[in-house]
Amino acid sequence: MSEGQKFEVPPKSHDPQSVEAVLEKGEIESAKELEGYWGIQLVKIKDDGDALFRRDDATSIWFEEEGLEVRRSDLELIAYKIDQILEFNLIPTVTNRTIGEYNGSLQRRISSFYDGHSVGWENDVRPEEITRAAIFDYLLDVRDRHNGNFIIDADTDKLWLIDHDFFMFFREDFGAGARIVEKARMKGLVNLSEIEIASLERFLANVDTLMIDAKPKVAEIIKKAVDRAKILLKEGRIPTANI
């Protein structure tokens, strides 16, 4: 089992592919809408823990207003796929799924967590994980990594990145939505190790598979990530210029 890859009730098998299979095909025992605006549902999967279901239609207006054909579940999935290729293991397993009449993203719930609002989280998380999260955020040019958009497993201090949605990718960049990159810079954790270099080279080698059936806006995200991967490899560190 990957570190932190656990359900409240552990799944029968714990590698990401098995978790994906559970999320894609596991029998849904119940789906309860959470209090709050977005209609997010807590989904219990029979014998395999629970997950958060975020309906695409709840946020489709953001994309429609911009004339984009992409939806939240597309963005959640591309972020997860890139993380898997990098082998950073920063994003809780997520799949696209239709529940009831709604399509959306179904993501494994981290059962024990605290978030980036907690003072000193950066001293709990392993330094290399901060570096990798900063690389990921730089690579995808994220716009909204504020303190509520990453969480830390309270049992293992494992860092998880969440909320890869419209605002994360398409919000106007006011230059202040990159909290993890800021922390990496403050702590001097911006240099790439051999492991991260290999991750980026693997990403570049697998771009063609990511582009298969990619919607135009997702393809743009991938192309930008390619450019940024090359910059990272050339400089050997996360550039100092703001993302």
């Binding site: 409240e8 959470l34 709050g36 605006y37 977005w38 719930r109 024990s112 909320d163 006011f174 202040a176």
Partner: protein, 96 residues
């Protein structure tokens, strides 16, 4: 009698139960958002200090409690993960 606008903020706990951790309140008279809840809670302290983006209108800069309704109506965008979720702005009539 006066109109009170409010947003509730929920946090998902380890057992997948939601707990209300704060209510953000705004009256037409004050113009400044007040918080009912544990002011020592990390989220409450942080949001007062850090502020939030203006997601709704994409205006540059950040919004703080003293921005009143602009702050209130952006809470649901800021807290949207499921682990933390804010309600839309609701309103009710209360006694002065």
């Amino acid at each position: 009698m006066m109109l009170l606008y409010f947003v509730e903020l929920y946090e998902l706990d380890n057992n997948a139960h939601q707990n209300k951790i704060a209510t953000f309140r705004l009256t037409e008279e004050s113009g400044v958002v007040e918080i009912d809840g544990d002011h020592e809670h990390a989220i409450i302290k942080d949001i007062q200090w850090e502020g939030i983006f203006d997601y709704k209108y994409a205006r540059p800069g950040k919004l703080y409690l003293y921005d009143g309704m602009k702050f209130l109506e952006n809470l649901k965008y800021h807290f949207r993960s499921g682990y933390l979720l804010a309600t839309d702005v609701e309103k009710k009539i209360v006694d002065n």
